[in-house]
Structure formats: structure tokens, C-alpha cells
């Protein structure tokens, strides 16, 4: 009897939370839409936030939830972007399919890397992911015939769905926003499921996880696959949004930027990656004229998180929430 009560209470709380979450997001979205319909540039920035948020959410599933680090996520971003670009431009496959194929190829590479990676400890996993990132970067830089090398590829076609062509930043934004919300919903469901619990258990204690019947290697590989898929998807979106790609966008530094966004926003949290992406994209835009300080600022962000904000910006919110809740509880008492 009592257990049912606890259950019901929890479900009710969850429903309320979910509804509140929905209402708040809808409110923010409508406010943003009202504003940006006049601002093309703003729409582009919002698109970048969405794209980075998808990529970083992918990284979060790998690093935040499963505890496997990757310093080479730009590789999957590049694979998604170049695959979709080349298939649509040179083979002529409709963009909608090439985006999916790009994400799937990134996922395939994620799985291939995951096989050896799932056996390595942190230091060596870091190195393996860096090496893979470098290999992909070098490949796209020097394979002139296929990727046009350092000059990059221009004239990447726009996405077309059911005869509608996404030609403006605004239209892309609506699409990306919908996808970000879908990704967040999927991530939330995943984390609160049997699979998500297996991920977290592996992060917390791989030996005990195996003792509880979890096939650690299988789930580590699965986390790599999901992560690479999302980051590859983001890469493909990036290519079609901007219409131009070159190896410059897929360097080691890009991997570090993803990591900075994740750490700064808040690791292993639902909205942390989005918040981190938003803050860093905005700061990068504001700092456009101080571009030579960009890496320095990212580095200071990482150090700030490491030393003072272990849970990122989301952690600050949580702390405030806890303080408020404590005050509130005191008053009630």
C-alpha cells in the first residue's frame, strides 16, 4: 500500500516537472521567435547553439554518463559533415538522406573506435581518441581529390523536405530547435531507463556493474555509437547550414571546444550541454574582434570549472535551488 503511494507521489511530481519544463521551453521559444524574425544574424547564432548542443549532448552521453573520455569528437563532426556534403554534392542523393547517412557513418566509426577503446583506461583512451581525431583531420586535409583539401568545399546544397527548401537561417532554426528538443527528450528517457542506469553504473564502478549482470563492453560501445551518431548529425547539419566546410572547422581545437562547452554547462545533466553551448557560442560571437584571445578564454573556462565549478553552470543553479528549498523548508517548519 505504502509503496503504491510513494510511486504515485513520484509520478505526480514527474508529470508536474515535465509540464513545467514544456511550458517554460515553449515560452522561451515563442519569445525568441518573435524577436529573431527580424534578425537574420541572431537566427544564425541560434542555429549554432542548437548544432553545438546536439554535438555536446552526444559527448555528454559518452563522457558525462558513461565516464569514457573523448578528446577527438571533432572527428565524428567531420565525418558527418563531409559524408553528407560529398554524397549530396557529388553523388546527388537528397540532402535529407545524406544527413542520416553522415550520422550513421560517424556512428560506424564510433563503434570501430569503441572496440579497442572500451578496453583502455582513461589515459590511453584519451590518446586513442586524440589520435583518431588527428587521423580524420589529416585525411580530410590532404585528400585533395575527394575533399578539396585545405581550400574546403563550397556550394553545399540546402536541405529539402517534402518539396520545402530550407534556405534561410530562420527556417533552419525551427528545424534544429525541434531536433534539439527531440534529442533532449530522448536523452532524458534514455538516462532514466535500464540502459541509462547501466551507463551510469559503468561510470561509477565498472567492476560492480559487471557483477550486476551488465555487459560493460557492450554498453560502452553503445554509448560510443550514440555519441558519435549525435555528433555526426550535428556535423551534417553544420555543413548544410553554412554551405561551406574546410578542415579548419574540424581541428583538435574543435574537440576541445566541445569538451569546454560540456564542462562549463554541466556534465551529466540534461540541459548542461545546451547551456554550455549557448554560453560559449555567444561569448565567441561577442569576442569576434578579440579572436586571438579565444583559446585563452576557453582554457580559463576549463580551469574555472576544474577548480571552482565541478558541476558547471547547471551546478550553480542546483546550488541556488537547494539554498532556496532549504530556506523554504525552514519557513514551513
Amino acid at each position: 500500500m505504502e509503496s503504491i503511494n510513494v510511486n504515485r507521489r513520484k509520478t505526480i511530481i514527474n508529470t508536474i516537472k515535465e509540464k513545467r519544463f514544456l511550458i517554460i521551453t515553449l515560452f522561451i521559444i515563442s519569445a525568441i521567435i518573435a524577436y529573431m524574425l527580424r534578425e537574420r544574424y541572431l537566427a544564425l547564432i541560434l542555429c549554432f547553439i542548437c548544432i553545438n548542443s546536439i554535438a555536446v549532448s552526444g559527448l555528454d552521453i559518452l563522457f558525462g554518463y558513461t565516464g569514457q573520455v573523448s578528446f577527438g569528437h571533432a572527428a565524428y563532426y567531420a565525418i558527418g559533415a563531409y559524408t553528407s556534403t560529398l554524397l549530396s554534392l557529388k553523388v546527388g542523393i537528397p540532402v535529407f538522406f545524406t544527413i542520416i547517412l553522415g550520422a550513421l557513418l560517424a556512428m560506424l566509426f564510433g563503434i570501430i573506435i569503441a572496440f579497442p577503446a572500451s578496453k583502455l583506461v582513461k589515459h590511453f583512451l584519451s590518446l586513442l581518441t586524440i589520435a583518431f581525431g588527428q587521423m580524420v583531420y589529416m585525411f580530410i586535409s590532404v585528400t585533395d581529390k575527394l575533399t578539396n583539401g585545405f581550400s574546403g568545399i563550397i556550394g553545399i546544397p540546402n536541405l529539402k523536405i517534402f518539396g520545402y527548401t530550407f534556405s534561410s537561417n530562420q527556417s533552419y532554426f525551427f528545424l534544429f530547435l525541434a531536433i534539439v528538443l527531440l534529442v533532449l527528450l530522448g536523452k532524458k528517457r534514455l538516462i532514466n531507463s535500464r540502459v541509462g542506469r547501466a551507463f551510469i553504473a559503468i561510470r561509477e564502478n565498472p567492476h560492480a556493474a559487471a557483477g550486476m549482470g551488465i555487459n560493460v563492453r557492450y554498453y560502452k560501445i553503445m554509448a560510443f555509437a550514440i555519441s558519435a551518431f549525435l555528433t555526426g548529425l550535428a556535423g551534417a547539419f553544420y555543413a548544410h547550414l553554412v554551405g561551406f566546410i574546410s578542415p579548419d572547422s574540424f581541428t583538435n581545437a574543435q574537440s576541445n571546444i566541445f569538451m569546454t562547452m560540456l564542462l562549463f554547462g554541466g556534465i551529466a545533466s540534461l540541459v548542461g550541454p545546451t547551456i554550455g553551448a549557448a554560453i560559449l557560442v555567444v561569448i565567441t560571437e561577442i569576442m569576434q574582434s578579440f579572436v586571438s584571445y579565444q583559446m585563452l578564454i576557453y582554457a580559463l573556462f576549463i580551469l574555472a570549472v576544474l577548480f571552482y565549478l565541478p558541476n558547471g553552470v547547471v551546478g550553480i543553479f542546483d546550488n541556488i535551488k537547494q539554498i532556496v528549498a532549504r530556506r523554504f523548508r525552514k519557513k514551513v517548519d
Binding site: F115, L120, V121, A131, M135, M138, S292, I302, L306
Partner: protein, 289 residues
């Protein structure tokens, strides 16, 4: 042709070996990994160039001064940043992140100080080439090779013969026992980081005249050195030298006989293959869970 190639391979191999040796030293002493080693080399090159070219100091003085500063910098990073981070209970992966951000700061700092163009490090010797057994060889290559070998031997003697070196090895094997014997374990760790960055900085000064000095010069060398350290057996200092030499030869001969654009791609490919099939490297150290 072949002799020049071999000299070139030995030279770049000893650069990788020496930088990789630093990784091994850090890992042995503190069980950690620094990804800023390549940038230590870059900073060393810039400092050396500044002393030699702009302050007009003799080359050897510039080299020693740079090595001293780099030693202090490495020690500072370990003592101030890494130790503090570990005291907060951070996992090792966060130390790696910390060194990544240090590497970003060093690169960006160097760019702000010295600019983003490739700077020329004036040649050390008056002649452009020396003639050895009828082969024309660039003397700076020989200098780099010589300094590389000298540093390796000096480090070997230091670690095996000197009291502090023995303490370092003891502390690396068993911290608790070592500190019970009165060894200052934190000092040995700091010294290991210091020596690692000193070696990288020193070799940076020596290769400055060969490759020029620029902010991203360390990144690739650092990663190749790392690859060498892994192939040699991570944490094994002598393995790092052999691994570094291996990659020196691979890239020299690949670019001479196969393809120069794909040489780095192939090097990293070899690294990944080694990590998959022989994760302990040639001389084993523990890497598996």
C-alpha cells in the same frame, strides 16, 4: 641520400624520444599524463630564440637558461595546479583536461607575445653544411641529435647514479615506503614534471633553427612523441626513446619513398593499430582495466 635520411630520422626520432621520455617520467613519478609536453617544446623554442636572437646571448647560454626556466615552469604546473586539483579529489582525466587547458594557454600566450607567424631562428653554425665521409649534412641536425643523445645519457646517469634520481625511482615504485624512508615524495613528483618540461624546452631550442619557431610547432611533435611513448611501452623511459626513434624513421622514410602528405596519417594509424593489438607497447606497462 640514404645517409642523409638516416641522420634526419635519427634527429627527429631523438626529438620524439626526448619529449616522449618526459611523458614517461611524469607517468612514472605521478601516475598522470600531461598533454602540454609539445607546447613546452614550443615555449622553449620561443624563449631560446628570444635569448639568442634578440638578447644576443651565446647559444649555449640561451639553451641552458631556457632549460632552467622550463624546469621551473614544469615544476610550477605540478606544484601549483596539478597538486591542488588532485587535493580536490579530481579524477586523473581532469588532470589531463587541466594540462590541455595549460597547452591552450601556452599556445595562445605565445601567439600574443611573439605573433602568429613562423619566426626564423638564426643558424647556430657559420657553415650551411658539413661534409662527413663525402655526405653533405646540415650541422644543426647533428646538433639536435647530439643534444638528444646527451640528454638521454645524462638523464640515465642522473636516475641511476645520483641520490635524488634514486629517490625519484623509489618514490615512483612505492610512495608510502619512500616517504617512510624520508624521501620527499612531492619534491620528486615536482622534479619529474620539471625535468620533463626542461627536456622538451631544451630540444625546442635545438630544433628551432631547423624548423623555424611558431606557435603550433609543438602540437604535432608532442603527439608523435606520445605515440612513441605508447609504442615503446608507456611509463618505460627507454621504451619512449625507442618508440620515438621508430616514428622518426617511419615518417622520414614514408615521406621519402611513399607519400609525404599522408606521413602523419600513417604514423597515427600505426599508433592506433598498436593500441588495438599490442596495448602494452613493446615494453609493458599497465594500460588495461
Amino acid at each position: 641520400m640514404l645517409i642523409q635520411l638516416i641522420i634526419g630520422a635519427l634527429m627527429i626520432g631523438s626529438v620524439y624520444g626526448l619529449v616522449g621520455l618526459g611523458y614517461g617520467l611524469i607517468y612514472k613519478a605521478s601516475g598522470l599524463m600531461s598533454l602540454a609536453q609539445g607546447d613546452m617544446l614550443m615555449i622553449g623554442a620561443f624563449l631560446g630564440m628570444t635569448f639568442y636572437k634578440y638578447l644576443g646571448l651565446p647559444f649555449i647560454v640561451s639553451l641552458l637558461l631556457t632549460m632552467f626556466i622550463m624546469f621551473m615552469l614544469g615544476m610550477f604546473i605540478e606544484r601549483i595546479l596539478v597538486t591542488k586539483l588532485l587535493a580536490k579529489g579530481a579524477q586523473t582525466v581532469y588532470v589531463i583536461l587541466c594540462t590541455i587547458s595549460i597547452s591552450m594557454i601556452l599556445q595562445n600566450g605565445a601567439m600574443l607575445t611573439w605573433g602568429s607567424n613562423v619566426m626564423q631562428f638564426p643558424s647556430v653554425f657559420k657553415t650551411n653544411t658539413v661534409n662527413i665521409f663525402g655526405y653533405e649534412i646540415i650541422p644543426e641536425n647533428l646538433l639536435a641529435l647530439g643534444v638528444g643523445i646527451f640528454c638521454m645519457l645524462a638523464l640515465h646517469l642522473f636516475m641511476t647514479k645520483s641520490k635524488f634520481g634514486t629517490s625519484m625511482r623509489a618514490a615512483a615504485q612505492d610512495e608510502l615506503a619512500a616517504s617512510a624512508l624520508g624521501i620527499n615524495v612531492p619534491a620528486t613528483k615536482g622534479a619529474a614534471w620539471g625535468i620533463a618540461s626542461m627536456l622538451a624546452g631544451g630540444i625546442g631550442v635545438v630544433i628551432g633553427p631547423i624548423f623555424g619557431v611558431y606557435t603550433s610547432m609543438g602540437a604535432m611533435i608532442g603527439q608523435k612523441a606520445f605515440a612513441g611513448a605508447v609504442v615503446g611501452g608507456y611509463g618505460n623511459m627507454y621504451g619512449a626513446i625507442i618508440g620515438g626513434m621508430f616514428f622518426g624513421f617511419v615518417e622520414t622514410f614514408v615521406s621519402a619513398y611513399l607519400t609525404s602528405s599522408y606521413k602523419d596519417f600513417i604514423s597515427f594509424g600505426i599508433l592506433i593499430i598498436v593500441m588495438i593489438f599490442m596495448p602494452t607497447g613493446l615494453f609493458r606497462e599497465e594500460v588495461m582495466e
